[in-house]
Symmetry: none
Subunit: 247 residues, 2 copies
């Protein structure tokens, strides 16, 4: 198989899959790791993709650049699992709140076809949701530049007037005594309100956020169900304090 053909193949795969492992490509293309690695490096040099430990990631449009530390394929795929599990919890006729952030953003494709209404404070989320033909209500208010999240008093007041069956939140810290925490005070306020307005709340996090404490407290540990990928032994005791789902 010609070098060029491999390159096209790799890019095609990335269109559909977001992340690829080197091993995956070795099997599908029948070439050695060395060759695949060389291909990936070349394509990265051409700015066609981003190399990450274990494989490669689709290059993002300059828009929803979350500048996250998505440094390994494994990390990405675990994260994807969390989003998938969360989306699985959504039923027809739910009115859900979708918090801004990349993890909740990843849920959206899995919501396709569900007969639901989504309220969100994420600007990119709103755009994608409507692309998937999902009834979307955007929370109004001031926009934070880095995360493109709607925050501030206007937003808070607007949330007062609505109620959700389920809320799906991103979070920076999850700790038994400090509860759920996040760095930005204003974002914390919005998150807090969304959780209070929701019948049932879920916090989506990868393991790196467990046992972490960030600046601003959002809620107590028992107010939300945690959805994550895999708990270490030490983290198992979180289960004594709140509901946990493992993807």
């Amino acid at each position: 198989m010609l070098t060029d053909e491999r390159h096209s193949f790799i890019l095609e795969q990335l269109e559909q899959k977001n992340t690829l492992t080197v091993q995956e490509l070795v099997e599908k293309l029948g070439h050695s790791e060395s060759t695949i690695r060389r291909d990936l490096t070349t394509l990265e040099d051409q700015d066609k993709l981003v190399r990450i430990h274990g494989g490669a990631r689709k290059k993002r449009k300059p828009v929803d650049e979350p500048t996250m530390d998505e440094k390994t394929v494994k990390f990405m795929q675990e994260k994807e699992k969390v989003s998938q599990l969360a989306a699985y919890l959504v039923n027809d006729f739910d009115v859900i709140y979708l918090d801004a952030g990349t993890t909740t953003y990843a849920m959206i494709p899995y919501l396709e076809g569900k007969n639901i209404t989504v309220v969100t404070n994420g600007v990119p989320h709103a755009a994608l949701l409507t692309d998937y033909n999902i009834e979307t209500i955007l929370v109004g208010g001031k926009i934070k530049q880095r995360t493109k999240a709607v925050i501030g008093s206007i937003a808070e007041r607007q949330l007062d007037e609505v109620n959700f069956t389920k809320a799906f939140m991103g979070m920076n810290g999850v700790d038994i005594t400090q509860g759920f925490t996040t760095p930005d005070t204003e974002e914390a306020a919005i998150k807090r309100k969304a959780i209070r307005q929701s019948n049932q709340s879920y916090v989506l996090v990868d393991v790196s956020k467990l046992d972490e404490v960030s600046f601003s407290k959002v809620a107590d540990i028992d107010e939300c169900t945690v959805i994550t990928n895999h708990l270490s032994d030490k983290q198992q005791r979180l289960k004594d304090y709140t509901r946990i789902m493992e993807a």
Copy 2:
């Protein structure tokens, strides 16, 4: 087999296959590698294909020529002029309303560096505005899929609580007796409210919208200043009814 025949054969194959290996051609044509290589080199010199290591690749299309005919390009440029003039009207400390739609979207780059607050009901607008580091408030509410505009009762109510120094609106129809009109009833309602809440309102339109009437009425002809590119003689009489700026 004649040289010319081989050449046509190779090009035919490329129509279907995108890439060819030298070996492949050696087998199908029953000639030596040397000959095939000579063929490929010749064809490359004639710009009929691209040589790659191991074979050849179909020549890429002249990279998505802007295919727009001159008329369209000119049209776009006129539109750009309108946006530019509108942006020129914005001063420091203004609190402006930016209606959803492409014409107002085009204003954004020209707002760079101004010390202003922008309220908008356009989701893409909000994203771009924050990229330009402009203080942005997004109106909350239901999102219309096609235009990514925020509309509906929630949005209307939110507009009740704010006031603007200037509002910049897109519009589908401008007519002396019917005033300003647009196809979607809900969008019309939002536009109407924004205009009422604004000290001064501008409607950005290209000539094709003049003397047009759409379904839903937004405002009377004298409520807004029209910003457009060039008026035909017949359209000059609009000036008797409202203020007009020509870009």
